[in-house]
C-alpha cells in the first residue's frame, strides 16, 4: 500500500516535470516562430548606413539569414543551451549570457521590491478593511474608497501607470507595485471577505476575540492555499508588467532588454528571455500548487 502510494506520487511528480519541460520547450519554440515570422525579421537598421560597403551589408544580411529556418535554429539553440551557450545577440553583437548577467540583478531587485510592496499594501488594506468593516459607516467608506482606487488603477493601462509614476518621481519598483497592487488586492479581498463570512468567524466575534486575532487567525490562515495560488499568478503578472515598466522608465533590466530585442527582431535574446520568463512562471505556479496541496492535505 505504502509502495503504491510512493509510486503514484513519483508518477505525479514525473508528469509535472514532463509538463514543465513541455511548456518550456513549447514557449521557446512559439516565441522563435513569432519573431521569425514577424515583419522586419532579417532587416537591420545598419543596412541603410551609406558608409557601409556592399560586402558589409551582405554580411549583415547573412547573419540574420542564418536563423531563417525556425526548426533548425531552435534545435541548434537547444543543443548549444545544453552546453551553456545562450548564443550571441544579433543587434548588439554580444553573448546573450553576458547581457543577461549584466541586467538580471536590476530586474530581480525591481521585481522583488515591487512584488513585496504590492503584497504588503494589499495585505495591509485587506486587514484594515476587515477590521473596520464591522463599524458600519467607516467600513462602508473604506470599502468604497479602496474599491474606487483599485478600480481606477485596474482601468489605467500599464504604460500610463508606469509613465505617471515616473513623472511624479516614482521608481520602477513603485510603478510595478502600483500595477500589481490593484490586481492582488481585488482577488485577496474577495477571498478574505468570503472567509470572513464563515460561521466560525462569526462565532469568534461572538466570543469577543480581538479583531486582529480574528483577521489573522480565523480569516487569513484558512485562505492561505488561495493566497499561495495568487502568489503564483502575481509572479506571472509581474513578469508581464516588468517589461513595459522597465522599457518606459528606462530601467536597465531584462525587461528593457527583451523590449529592445523584440523591436530589433533579435531572435537569440527573445528566445532566451522567453524561456526565462516561462521557467519563472511555471516554477512559481508549481510551488504555489505544491503549497496549496500541502495546506489542503
Amino acid at each position: 500500500m505504502h509502495n503504491e502510494r510512493r509510486r503514484s506520487l513519483l508518477v505525479a511528480l514525473l508528469q509535472h516535470a514532463g509538463w514543465l519541460i513541455f511548456t518550456l520547450l513549447g514557449g521557446g519554440l512559439i516565441s522563435s516562430a513569432l519573431v521569425r515570422h514577424a515583419p522586419g525579421f532579417g532587416a537591420d537598421e545598419r543596412m541603410l548606413n551609406p558608409l557601409l560597403s556592399r560586402n558589409s551589408i551582405q554580411v549583415l544580411a547573412g547573419r540574420q539569414a542564418q536563423q531563417s529556418n525556425v526548426a533548425t535554429y531552435y534545435v541548434g539553440y537547444l543543443r548549444r543551451l545544453f552546453h551553456g551557450d545562450l548564443g550571441v545577440s544579433v543587434s548588439v553583437g554580444r553573448p546573450v549570457k553576458d547581457l543577461l548577467a549584466e541586467r538580471i540583478g536590476v530586474s530581480l531587485r525591481t521585481a522583488s521590491a515591487g512584488l513585496a510592496l504590492a503584497w504588503a499594501m494589499a495585505l495591509a488594506m485587506v486587514v484594515v478593511l476587515e477590521i473596520v468593516r464591522r463599524r458600519s459607516v467607516l467600513g462602508l467608506w473604506c470599502d468604497r474608497a479602496f474599491t474606487t482606487v483599485t478600480g481606477a488603477l485596474l482601468c489605467l493601462p500599464i504604460a500610463v501607470l508606469a509613465i505617471g509614476c515616473f513623472y511624479f518621481g516614482g521608481t520602477p519598483p513603485l510603478a510595478l507595485a502600483a500595477i500589481l497592487f490593484a490586481r492582488v488586492f481585488r482577488y485577496m479581498s474577495s477571498v478574505v471577505r468570503q472567509a470572513a463570512g464563515a460561521s466560525h468567524v462569526l462565532t469568534a466575534h461572538a466570543m469577543g476575540e480581538s479583531a486582529l486575532r480574528i483577521a489573522g487567525w480565523h480569516v487569513i490562515r484558512p485562505v492561505l492555499p488561495e493566497l499561495a495560488a495568487l502568489a503564483g499568478v502575481s509572479i506571472s503578472l509581474m513578469a508581464g508588467a516588468l517589461i513595459p515598466v522597465e522599457a518606459l522608465c528606462d530601467s536597465p533590466g531584462v525587461g528593457q532588454l527583451v523590449w529592445e530585442a523584440a523591436l530589433a527582431r533579435d531572435l537569440p535574446v527573445v528566445v532566451n528571455i522567453t524561456l526565462l520568463i516561462t521557467a519563472l512562471t511555471v516554477v512559481a505556479n508549481f510551488f504555489a500548487d505544491a503549497f496549496r496541496t500541502m495546506e489542503e492535505a
Binding site: G40, A43, N49, P50, L52, R103, D250, P252, Q256, L257
Partner: protein, 539 residues
C-alpha cells in the same frame, strides 16, 4: 560716513576685480543623454549615434572638422601634405603626446589603427570608408612622428576621413581603453550610464593646465524622449540636442533654460518612389513612378512652406537637394526648392497622359491614381508630414494612403521585398563631403533608394550621375569636384527621383550655467568643443 563709503568702494572693487579676472571654472560633471546603449565602445567598430558620441568624447584624431567653420583643423597631426598625385597623405604628428594611461603616442599607433580599421572581417562604417574598390589603404611609418597613408587610387580630400578615426594604442595593455581624447572611460553600467572622467594626459592645455575644464561627463542612457525632456527641465541633464520642434518650443518658453534654433541642419525629410523594375507592383504604377513629369508634378503639389510652418513649427526650411545651404561649400547655390504650383503640376501630369475624371486623377489606361506612402511609426512629425502630403495630393485628384510601420518592417520593405510604392524617411548627413554619399547615388549601390543594385544604370541620367560621382571621387581639383557635384545636384533637382521636402533646423538646449557653448548644425551639435565647455560657479 567717509569710512563706510571707502569700505563700500573697496568691496565693490574687490567684487569687480574677482569677476573680471575669473576665467573659466575647472571641474564639474556634465550630464547628457544618449538614446540607446552603444553597440560597441571600440572606436573602430562604432556604427551608431551613441557610439559616435562616446568616440567623439574619448577619441583623439589626427585632424578634426571644425563644426562651425567647417574647415579641417590639425589635432594630433600638427600638419599634413598630400603626395603621389593624391595617392598618399603624410601626417606629421605632435611630439610629447601620451595616451590616457601614459603610453607615448607615435606613428606606430597610427599605422596600427589603420591596420585594425582595414581588417577584412571588421565591417564597420569607419573601416569601409577607407576601402577604395576592394583594396584597403596601407600605412607606413616614416619615423617616430611621421606616417604615410597610401591609398590604392587617388582619393579626393581624404584627410577629412581622419576626423572619424580615433587613434588606438599599439603598446598599451588597456587596448582601446587607452585614449587620446579629452575624456576616458571611468565606469560603464550597461543599459544605465557611461561615466567618463578627465584624461589626465590630454594634450591640449589652457594657461599651462591640461584641458578639459570639466572633470567628468556622464552619458545617461535615456530612450524615452519625453522623460529626457522632463529630466532636463528638472536639472538632471545639462544638454539636449536634436530636439523635436514641439519640445523645443516648450523649452524655449522656459526663461530659466538656454535654447537655440541654430538654423537649417544637414538633416532633412525626403520622399521617393519605388522604381525597381522587379518590384511587386502593377505595371501601370511602375510607369507612373518612372515618369519624370509625375514625380515633378507631385513635388510641385507639396506645400513645403506649410510643412515647415505647421509640422515643424517654423523650425525647418524647404528642402532643395542632397545638401542644405548649411553645407557651405558643397551646396549648389543656383538651386531653389520646387515651388508650390498646382497649375504647373496639373500641366506636367497632363503632359504625361494623366487626366481628371470627376474628383479622381486617372492615367492614360484609365487607372485611378492611388498609392500609399510608407513611413516609420513613432515619429510624430513625420506622420503629420505624411498626412499633410496626403491632403496636398488630393488637390491633384490622387488618393494617398499613409502606412506606418516600425523600422525593421519598413527596412525589409524598402531593401528586401520592395513591397512599397512611395517612402517618406529622414536623411542624416554626418559628413560634409559628397564622397560619403557614393552608396546613395551610384546606381549599382545597395543604398540607391529608388532602384538599388542596378547591374547597369536604368536611365541615361543615372548613368550621368554615376559618371560624375566617380569623377569627383578621384579628382584632386576641388573646383572640378564642386562642378561635378553641382551637376549631380542639378540632375537630381530636374529628375526628382527623391523629393526633398524640408531641412530641419538644429534645435538645442542647455543648462544656463554652461559656458563656451558654440552650437553647430553639424553633429555633435553642442559637444563638438567639449574640451572648452565649463560650468559657471561650482557644480
Amino acid at each position: 560716513m567717509r569710512c563706510s563709503s571707502l569700505v563700500l568702494t573697496l568691496l565693490s572693487l574687490a567684487v569687480f576685480s574677482v569677476a573680471g579676472v575669473s576665467g573659466p571654472r575647472w571641474g564639474g560633471e556634465l550630464r547628457i543623454s544618449i538614446h540607446s546603449e552603444p553597440r560597441s565602445l571600440n572606436p573602430s567598430l562604432v556604427d551608431d549615434d551613441p557610439g559616435e558620441t562616446y568616440r567623439y568624447l574619448t577619441g583623439g584624431v589626427l585632424v578634426r572638422v571644425n563644426r562651425v567653420t567647417q574647415e579641417l583643423e590639425p589635432e594630433l597631426a600638427a600638419s599634413w601634405t598630400a603626395e603621389e598625385a593624391g595617392r598618399a597623405i603624410v601626417f606629421h604628428l605632435r611630439q610629447g603626446v601620451c595616451f590616457s594611461d601614459g603610453t607615448p603616442f607615435s606613428a606606430e599607433d597610427v599605422a596600427y589603427t589603420m591596420q585594425v580599421l582595414t581588417q577584412p572581417g571588421l565591417h564597420s562604417p569607419t573601416g569601409d570608408t577607407f576601402r577604395v574598390g576592394s583594396r584597403p589603404v596601407r600605412a607606413s611609418v616614416i619615423d617616430k612622428h611621421t606616417v604615410k597613408i597610401l591609398f590604392p587610387e587617388p582619393a579626393a580630400d581624404a584627410a577629412r576621413l581622419f576626423d572619424q578615426v580615433a587613434i588606438l594604442s599599439k603598446q598599451s595593455p588597456l587596448k582601446e581603453n587607452a585614449v587620446l581624447g579629452p575624456f576616458r572611460l571611468a565606469e560603464h553600467k550597461p543599459g544605465a550610464y557611461i561615466r567618463l572622467e578627465r584624461n589626465p594626459n590630454y594634450w591640449k592645455t589652457e594657461g599651462g593646465r591640461r584641458l578639459p575644464y570639466l572633470d567628468a561627463v556622464r552619458l545617461e542612457i535615456q530612450q524615452n524622449r519625453e522623460i529626457e525632456l522632463l529630466r532636463f527641465e528638472r536639472g538632471e541633464l545639462d544638454l539636449l540636442s536634436g530636439i523635436d520642434p514641439q519640445q523645443f518650443d516648450r523649452v524655449a518658453a522656459n526663461s530659466k533654460l538656454w535654447s537655440r534654433d541654430v538654423g537649417p541642419s544637414l538633416e532633412g525629410e525626403l520622399m521617393w518612389f519605388n522604381m525597381r523594375p522587379s518590384a511587386p507592383l502593377p505595371d501601370f504604377e511602375k510607369r507612373w513612378f518612372s515618369s519624370r513629369n509625375f514625380r515633378l508634378a507631385i513635388s510641385h503639389a507639396i506645400r513645403r512652406d506649410d510643412l515647415s510652418r505647421i509640422v515643424y513649427r517654423g523650425h525647418a526650411q524647404a528642402g532643395i537637394g542632397p545638401f542644405s545651404p548649411a553645407n557651405r561649400f558643397w551646396f549648389d547655390t543656383k538651386l531653389a526648392a520646387h515651388q508650390f504650383d498646382l497649375h504647373l503640376a496639373q500641366e506636367l501630369l497632363a503632359g504625361a497622359g494623366f487626366r481628371k475624371e470627376g474628383a479622381m486623377l486617372k492615367d492614360s489606361g484609365g487607372h485611378a491614381v492611388e498609392f500609399s506612402i510608407l513611413t516609420n511609426s513613432g515619429n510624430r512629425s513625420r506622420e503629420r508630414a505624411a498626412a499633410m502630403i496626403q491632403e496636398d495630393l488630393a488637390a491633384l485628384g490622387m488618393r494617398i494612403n499613409v502606412v506606418t510601420q516600425d523600422f525593421p518592417a519598413l527596412i525589409q520593405r524598402i531593401t528586401q521585398n520592395f513591397q512599397y510604392e512611395a517612402c517618406l524617411l529622414g536623411l542624416i548627413n554626418v559628413d560634409l563631403d559628397p564622397d560619403s554619399q557614393m552608396n546613395i547615388w551610384l546606381s549599382s549601390a545597395a543604398d540607391h533608394p529608388w532602384n538599388p543594385n542596378q547591374p547597369a544604370p536604368a536611365t541615361a541620367w543615372e548613368a550621368e550621375i554615376d559618371r560624375l560621382m566617380q569623377a569627383q571621387a578621384t579628382s584632386l581639383d576641388r573646383g572640378k569636384r564642386k562642378a561635378d557635384f553641382d551637376r549631380v545636384q542639378e540632375i537630381v533637382w530636374d529628375q526628382a527621383p527623391m523629393l526633398y521636402l524640408v531641412n530641419t533646423d538644429a534645435l538645442v538646449a542647455a543648462s544656463p550655467r554652461l559656458r563656451n557653448l558654440s552650437p553647430s548644425v553639424l553633429r555633435p551639435q553642442l559637444l563638438w568643443n567639449i574640451d572648452q565647455l565649463y560650468f559657471e560657479g561650482s557644480k
